[in-house]
């Protein structure tokens, strides 16, 4: 019953707010929404404590495995942990927006609650088609939230791109589910997995490959792997900042979860995961480079999400409990750090009505907490011990080395250093720099490309602009940041055990169908390795170099000096910007090409 309640509470409160929102006072709406989310967090925490020992499975409507129809909700420790993270991020976002959006009834709160419910249901469901339904619900709510401030054309543009690309991906996922269903006559992850393993022999045939590729396409669009990633920056740039917290913190990583869950519960051993590794690694690199090239802070953070979620994908593709345990640490740490950074960006937007790095230069001096968030956030992205990202790097790296993936460590270091360096640069410029009287750099820097239409004045999300930041806008970010920076201290034993449970297909089937909690052999995850700490030191050094170089270069650009190398770099940057054109046709063409690449890399010839 707990699992049903975890989904039902936010839905019912959302329905209540949508029904009566126009007559309720604002305070009542806020309190009801926050209480509902807190209740979800409590339920998820309870589930998390019980999951390792007692089977947290409930078949809806009393249909059991004996009838062979019906939908199970299943919470293994990772699923419960994800539900908890989702609820905590939503709580932070709602508290932050306590003074936000006074204009339209209780619609914002309704949508946020529906979003939470959709993500929790998606995480808990043990059924392929049901996962698709809640995946779609998640998307539809996300489109509406992205377009929330629809007065501005760029908002509509971003939301439309998001909507179209996500929908194409989702249809392909549905086509893949249909293939599995046609072959097996099953929709449950566990039952379909058993049936596929029974028919396919040791390896999957063309149908299994096609089904896996198609299902993954929708999830990879959500997880913004290259070349499915284009929508993400457009959507993040225009979505309200509390919504970005949920997008980057959990919605995008849930795409990774979808792939991991579908693979281990249903396709384990039938298809190779190298395609996921390749596309994830590409996202890690491209996202990091694009991140450095941005000066719209929300866009910059969005590209860093692409990069870090790319690393998550590589961790899943490393195909083992060790790497998955590292990925879990990484996801938790990333969710907190990125949430805090977006909230800090929201605070800047509120005070200065812009999130353009150049316009903000030196104007953050009166905001010590926000400044500290950016500094610590940058260090967190670089993997400051004992943050979740540090533990994630160390554990995944160890597993990747055992696999012979020598390239993982350099990839992770470069991606983290570039993204951390970009955030550090923002901190140096906005919070330590001196304000420029008039900004000559701004007009002279056009490399072409769309991010420039984003620059300049934006309507503040809060109205009227607040004199000082209220505690409701400061505390949530701080809490998220602190939680993320301590996430590496989560004991490695349970995390390792949870990862072993997650990667055990028969164990999962036993859990769902027989209610037995599997206890496969597991090794505890151990983040505290010498190479892990060394990795952080190298990363943070590189990040500092990148940030200082960027600031210096900007200064020298202002005086007009520019070498051949700089010009070549600028040309390359221009190319990259042009690639991210904002043209929906381009994005769709890249998506189809991505499907083909995925198929080529997955197929066995």
């Amino acid at each position: 019953m707990i699992l049903q309640l975890t989904v039902a509470v936010p839905v019912l409160v959302a329905a209540l707010l949508a029904t009566a929102g126009r007559w309720l006072p604002r305070l009542a709406v806020d309190v009801a929404a926050v209480l509902a989310v807190a209740a979800v967090a409590a339920l998820a925490a309870l589930t998390l404590t019980r999951a390792p020992h007692h089977a947290q499975v409930s078949w809806l409507g009393g249909w059991g495995p004996a009838t062979d129809v019906g939908i199970p909700l299943v919470a293994d420790p990772f699923a419960a942990g994800l539900a908890l993270i989702t609820a905590l991020l939503t709580l932070a976002a709602l508290l932050f927006s306590w003074r936000f959006f006074t204009e339209i009834q209780a619609i914002f709160h309704t949508l946020m609650l529906l979003f939470l419910a959709a993500m929790v249901a998606y995480v808990y469901t043990g059924d392929l088609f049901d996962a698709f339904v809640f995946f779609e619900l998640m998307s539809v709510v996300a489109f509406a939230l992205t377009g929330y401030r629809s007065e501005e054309p760029s908002t509509v543009h971003g939301a439309l791109n998001f909507g179209i690309i996500q929908s194409i991906g989702a249809y392909l996922t549905l086509a893949g589910i249909a293939l599995v269903y046609a072959r097996t006559g099953q929709l449950g992850l566990a039952t379909a997995g058993r049936a596929l393993a029974g028919t396919g022999g040791g390896h999957g045939d063309a149908l299994v490959t096609a089904a896996f590729v198609l299902i993954c396409t929708g999830y990879l669009v959500k997880a913004s792997a290259v070349p499915f990633h284009f929508w993400l920056a457009d959507a993040h740039a225009v979505a309200p900042t509390p919504v970005c917290v949920l997008f980057s913190g959990i919605m995008v990583p849930l795409g990774v979860y979808g792939i991991a869950r579908t693979y281990w519960a249903t396709f384990a051993g039938l298809v190779p995961l190298r395609a996921i590794a390749v596309l994830g690694a590409a996202a890690a690199l491209l996202g990091a480079v694009m991140c450095v090239l941005q000066h719209h802070i929300k866009r910059l953070l969005a590209y860093s999400t692409i990069s870090h979620v790319g690393l998550l994908l590589v961790g899943v593709a490393a195909h083992g409990p060790g790497a998955l345990a590292g990925t879990a640490y990484y996801l938790a740490g990333h969710a907190g750090v990125k949430g805090a950074l977006f909230l800090a960006a929201g605070a800047l937007l509120n005070r200065h009505e812009t999130v353009d790095e150049h316009e903000l230069r030196g104007r953050g001096r009166g905001m010590p907490v926000t400044g500290a968030t950016f500094l610590l956030g940058a260090l967190g992205l670089a993997g400051l011990p004992p943050s979740g990202l540090f533990a994630g790097h160390a554990v995944t790296e160890h597993a990747a080395e055992e696999l012979g993936w020598w390239w993982f460590t350099p990839l992770a270091v470069v991606a983290s250093a570039l993204t951390a360096g970009a955030v550090l640069r923002v901190w140096l410029g906005v919070f330590r720099g001196t304000p420029a009287e008039e900004d000559p750099a701004r007009d002279g820097r056009d490399h072409g490309g769309q991010d420039h239409r984003e620059g300049g004045h934006e309507d503040p999300e809060t109205r009227p602009t607040l004199r000082t930041l209220p505690w409701t806008m400061v505390t949530p970010g701080l809490a998220l940041l602190i939680a993320a920076l301590l996430a590496g201290l989560i004991p490695g034993g349970p995390v390792g055990a949870a990862a072993a449970m997650f990667t055990d297909r028969d164990g999962y089937a036993g859990l769902v169908l027989d209610g037995r909690v599997p206890h496969p052999h597991s090794t505890p995850a151990d983040p505290w390795t010498a190479s892990g700490v060394a990795g952080f030191l190298v990363t943070v050094l590189l990040a500092a170099l990148i940030a200082v170089y960027a600031v210096r270069r900007r200064a020298s650009e202002r005086t007009g000096g520019e070498g051949v190398l700089a010009r070549a770099a600028a040309a390359a940057a221009g190319r990259l910007h042009a690639l991210h054109s904002g043209h929906i046709g381009d994005y769709a063409a890249w998506l189809t090409a991505g499907v083909a690449v995925l198929a080529l890399l997955t197929a066995r010839f």
């Binding site: 409507g61 129809v69 339904v133 809640f134 293939l179 149908l207 096609a210 198609l214 046709g585 381009d586």
Partner: protein, 230 residues
């Protein structure tokens, strides 16, 4: 990207995706076979629960949780439409343009047919919902009929009457309320097919009225240039 490059990229990708899908589809079970594993189980279970309409049994009993998700998608879409289309009203106010809806030039035949069909269609909608558990039909289908029935008034050319019959706020609230009732019922007592049918019917009907209403508002808005004579 240039249009040509885009087309080439798309063609290459689409060819690859098509090859993948074709290869997969060739491994499907043959068309028209006698084995329908899920269908057999679903029918068996529906009959065991004495729901004669198997589709309703699947929708509101065996896979009621999917239906909850779909209900919520509809609710979220309706709310999303309210959010995204609210700009239209603002535009009109901001520009000081007249906000009125154009007169309808409808032939009398159409007008009469519209008025005659309205009650009949409403009745059919209710019937389809109410009999969903026994015969073909159900909340979704009936709800759509109900939602569109109201808009026969538009065909009949009586937009003011339609607006009176269709106070948007009431439909917004009722829609959300019905969705809440449905979720509560589906989780607490899945299997109460007729009642669930009813809740879905109300929800779908209201959501449809809401969506069509919002789109009408946008489509029928006549922008008169300020100071124009017409």
């Amino acid at each position: 990207m240039r249009a040509r490059a885009r087309t080439l990229l798309f063609a290459a990708g689409a060819a690859g995706a098509a090859a993948l899908f074709t290869a997969g589809a060739l491994d499907l079970p043959h068309f028209g076979g006698a084995v329908h594993p899920y269908g057999d189980r679903a029918v068996h279970q529906a009959l065991r629960e004495s729901t004669t309409n198997t589709i309703s049994s699947v929708n509101f009993d065996q896979r009621a949780f999917d239906t909850i998700g779909e209900e919520l998608i509809l609710m979220a879409s309706a709310i999303g439409a309210v959010v995204l289309l609210r700009v239209v009203g603002k535009e009109a106010e901001d520009q000081g343009a007249a906000h009125r809806h154009g007169p309808a030039e409808v032939s009398d035949a159409l007008r009469i047919v519209g008025y005659l069909l309205l009650p009949v269609t409403l009745l059919i909608g209710v019937y389809i919902i109410a009999h969903g558990a026994q015969s073909p039909g159900g909340g979704f289908q009936g709800g759509v009929i109900l939602g569109t029935a109201v808009h026969l008034l538009y065909l009949a050319g009586d937009y003011p009457a339609l607006q009176r019959l269709r106070p948007i706020p009431v439909f917004e609230s009722t829609e959300a309320l019905a969705a809440g009732v449905f979720v509560a019922m589906a989780l607490a007592a899945a299997g109460a097919v007729p009642a669930l049918n009813g809740a879905v019917g109300v929800e779908v009907g209201c959501a449809l009225v809401l969506l069509i209403g919002k789109f009408f508002e946008q489509a029928l808005l006549v922008r008169e240039p300020p100071g124009g004579t017409s």
